[in-house]
């Protein structure tokens, strides 16, 4: 009796395994998803950043899958996208592990992110060694200056941003005494160096260059130094919370000059509140942008997530569509996708016009923005 029971149980198990195998096999044949990875900040104090990034990517994936998926060149059938997300925790150590997981464990075709330059720069060797396309929203100029053929941007680097804001300071505002402030991280350091290079083109030497550490919450000393320098304007490059504290303390100490912040977005405005009024910024996307493609994205995002998109959501939304374009035109060979992207010109999407070059930079579209009434408005467009 026991032997019969075991045999029946054994047969049932075997049948289940076989069904599973055949079921899986038949699913692979029919609609094997294209795995696209996403790495961003899902936990930690800056998780709101990762939320915006991942939502932009998710929206694009859902739209594309609703339309039937992607039909890669040379394939008979369209395939859905499977978005696989990993958390970089906002730190390089966790970021490298997350990217390794995407590339070697999940074996994604390509991946998006990270956003923080301080994570992208030390970890981009992973994608390079594995020959996997990486589309990052990081802004530090040196990311695309390392000869890495596998890295691409989804927004213009700080080379463009710094040129734009210095041009605006000099030609629109006619300022000559400028103080530079930055968060002592890769993004802050490289951004402020670009700003300084651009000021030198106008023969302007900054009256002050002052830094603060990431996580610093008392910025009275740098604020006092800025006031003492009698600068007519401040260019700050770094993290949102630190920038909002610095500007608040400057205003509380009576500073009346122009304030510019490199990442003027809803996160900054949400923290700075009334102290964001009149602050200038640069952005390749704001939700008040009236271009039809920008408004179409905005409507879809608001309907899906019940809040306004920010520049990070736009960057990742467009990144997914850029990959779609590459897959549809170049097929499922990574080398061909990489080569296609290096030659992609005039690709218009929600945030702007993408013109890729051999380094992986995506073009020169940038706006000078201004915070008014807790919203970001466009003051001047460049490169659209």
């Amino acid at each position: 009796m026991g032997r019969i029971k075991f045999s029946k149980l054994g047969m049932l198990c075997l049948m289940g395994v076989l069904l599973g195998m055949f079921g899986t096999t038949s699913a692979v044949g029919a609609a094997d998803p294209i795995k696209i990875g996403f790495v961003g900040i899902m936990t930690g104090p800056n998780a709101l950043n990762g939320e915006y990034c991942s939502e932009g990517a998710k929206l694009a994936v859902e739209e594309i899958n609703a339309m039937g998926g992607i039909k890669p060149a040379g394939e008979a059938k369209a395939r859905p996208i499977e978005l696989i997300a990993e958390d970089d925790g906002g730190t390089p150590q966790v970021g490298v592990n997350a990217i390794n997981k995407l590339v070697h464990q999940h074996k994604v075709f390509a991946f998006l992110g990270p956003d923080y330059s301080s994570i992208t720069f030390p970890s981009m060797f992973v994608a390079q060694q594995a020959a996997v396309v990486q589309i990052t929203s990081s802004l530090a100029p040196k990311i695309t200056a390392q000869g890495n053929a596998w890295i691409f941007r989804s927004r213009p680097s700080d080379v463009v941003g710094a040129a734009v804001i210095v041009d605006y300071f000099m030609n629109e505002l006619k300022l000559t005494k400028v103080a530079l402030s930055y968060t002592n991280i890769e993004y802050g350091i490289s951004g402020i160096e670009e700003a300084e290079k651009n000021l030198a083109k106008f023969n302007i030497k900054p009256v002050l260059r002052v830094s603060h550490a990431a996580g610093d919450r008392d910025l009275t000393p740098p604020a006092a130094k800025i006031i003492e320098s009698k600068a007519e304007g401040v260019i700050d490059w770094g993290l949102q919370t630190e920038a909002s504290i610095l500007f608040r303390q400057l205003i509380q100490m009576g500073y009346k000059g122009k304030l510019f912040y490199s990442s003027l977005d809803d996160i900054f405005i949400g923290v700075a509140k009334e102290f964001s009024e009149g602050v200038l910024g640069i952005s390749n996307y704001v939700y008040t942008d009236e271009r039809p493609a920008a408004q179409k994205f905005r409507k879809a995002y608001v309907a899906r997530f019940k809040k306004e998109p920010d520049l990070h959501s736009g960057a990742y939304y467009d990144a997914v569509y850029i990959l779609k374009e590459a897959l549809e035109k170049a097929g499922l060979e990574r080398v061909k996708v990489k080569d296609f992207l290096h030659n992609l010109k005039g690709f218009r999407k929600a945030t702007g016009v993408f013109n890729y070059d051999i380094n992986g930079d995506c073009g020169h579209f940038q706006c000078v923005t201004v915070a008014k009434g807790l919203k970001t408005l466009i003051s001047k467009r460049y490169g659209y």
Binding site: P45, L48, S211, A224, Q249, I267
Partner: protein, 284 residues
């Protein structure tokens, strides 16, 4: 600018000192290094944000209830996490309080989210000019409130029966117990009082550094340094040590660089310990 930096340093240092005071009270009473002290600041910040900003309660009411709830939290932490391990290895106590810190920080993230929240300045934003010195109202209020608290604590500990009993427990738990004092109840009250001090620090800090779930541990590290500089176990030492840290941070950030302010603060700590190994206010 020098005077301005000193005033700002005294204000920030006063907050470190307040946290260090609570820290030291607990050490004296229960021989526990409470690494969760900073989380009392964090939680009270979120409480007053909820009551005053989100629910629109009048500030005095929101302030009082936030402070009281912080005290209740302190009592609960003592009862559930500290009392069971009292008398255990010091490492056990450290790990336990670190665990409480992580638990409270992550609970706050779960309830309120991970990003920082703006908190309006209830003391006004308009700076005042005195000679060539720009005075920020928030800093003056911080110095005033902490001074008033210190004076109140002095009268409490030396002028009231409960305060004297707390001092007795802090001095010698065993003898206090033999004298009929309920040591457990007193230690619970001391935790409550320390949490109230931490809560006050959190509310004073909220308009300056915003309300966020990750402010606790960095605060407690600065407070720990202040307590060590002042002499671990000395109440006046804890406060003065915190102020020393605040001033050295501000002056080093202004005259040298913000990048080195932690380095210089630790250098000040090491220098003081070389000449006064027990801290400024304790004899070896």
């Amino acid at each position: 600018m020098f005077i301005q930096q000193i005033i700002a340093g005294v204000a920030m240092g006063g907050i470190y000192g307040l946290v260090a005071l609570g820290f030291t009270l607990i050490w004296n009473a229960a021989a526990v290094v409470n690494f969760a002290q900073g989380e009392f600041c964090m939680i009270s910040g979120f409480l007053i944000l909820t009551f005053f900003v989100n629910w629109g309660w009048p500030f005095p009411m929101a302030f009082l209830i936030s402070i009281l709830l912080s005290g209740v939290l302190g009592v609960i932490v003592e009862r559930l996490a500290i009392r069971p391990i009292r008398g255990a290895d010091p490492l056990t106590a450290i790990i336990t309080t670190l665990g409480v810190s992580i638990f409270l920080s992550n609970s706050a993230k779960f309830v309120w989210g991970t990003h920082p929240f703006h908190f309006p300045s209830v003391f006004g934003d308009k700076p005042m000019q005195m000679a060539k010195i720009t005075l920020i109202p928030q800093n003056l209020w911080i110095i005033g409130i902490i001074s008033a608290l210190v004076i109140s604590l002095y009268f409490f500990f030396f002028g009231t029966l409960t305060g004297k009993v707390m001092r007795a427990v802090a001095q010698d738990r065993q003898t206090a117990s033999l004298m009929g004092i309920s040591v457990n109840r007193m230690i619970g009250m001391i935790f409550g009082l320390s949490a109230i001090m931490g809560g006050l620090a959190g509310i004073l800090l909220a308009p300056i550094i915003y309300v966020a779930a990750d402010i606790g541990l960095p605060l407690v590290l600065k407070a720990f340094m202040g307590a060590v500089i002042g002499g671990f176990g000395s109440l006046p030492g804890a406060l003065i040590g915190g102020v020393v840290i605040g001033i050295s941070e501000n002056l080093s950030a202004f005259y040298i660089s913000s990048d080195y302010k932690d380095v210089i603060s630790f250098a000040v700590l090491i220098a003081i310990l070389i000449f006064k190994p027990a801290g400024l206010f304790l004899r070896k």
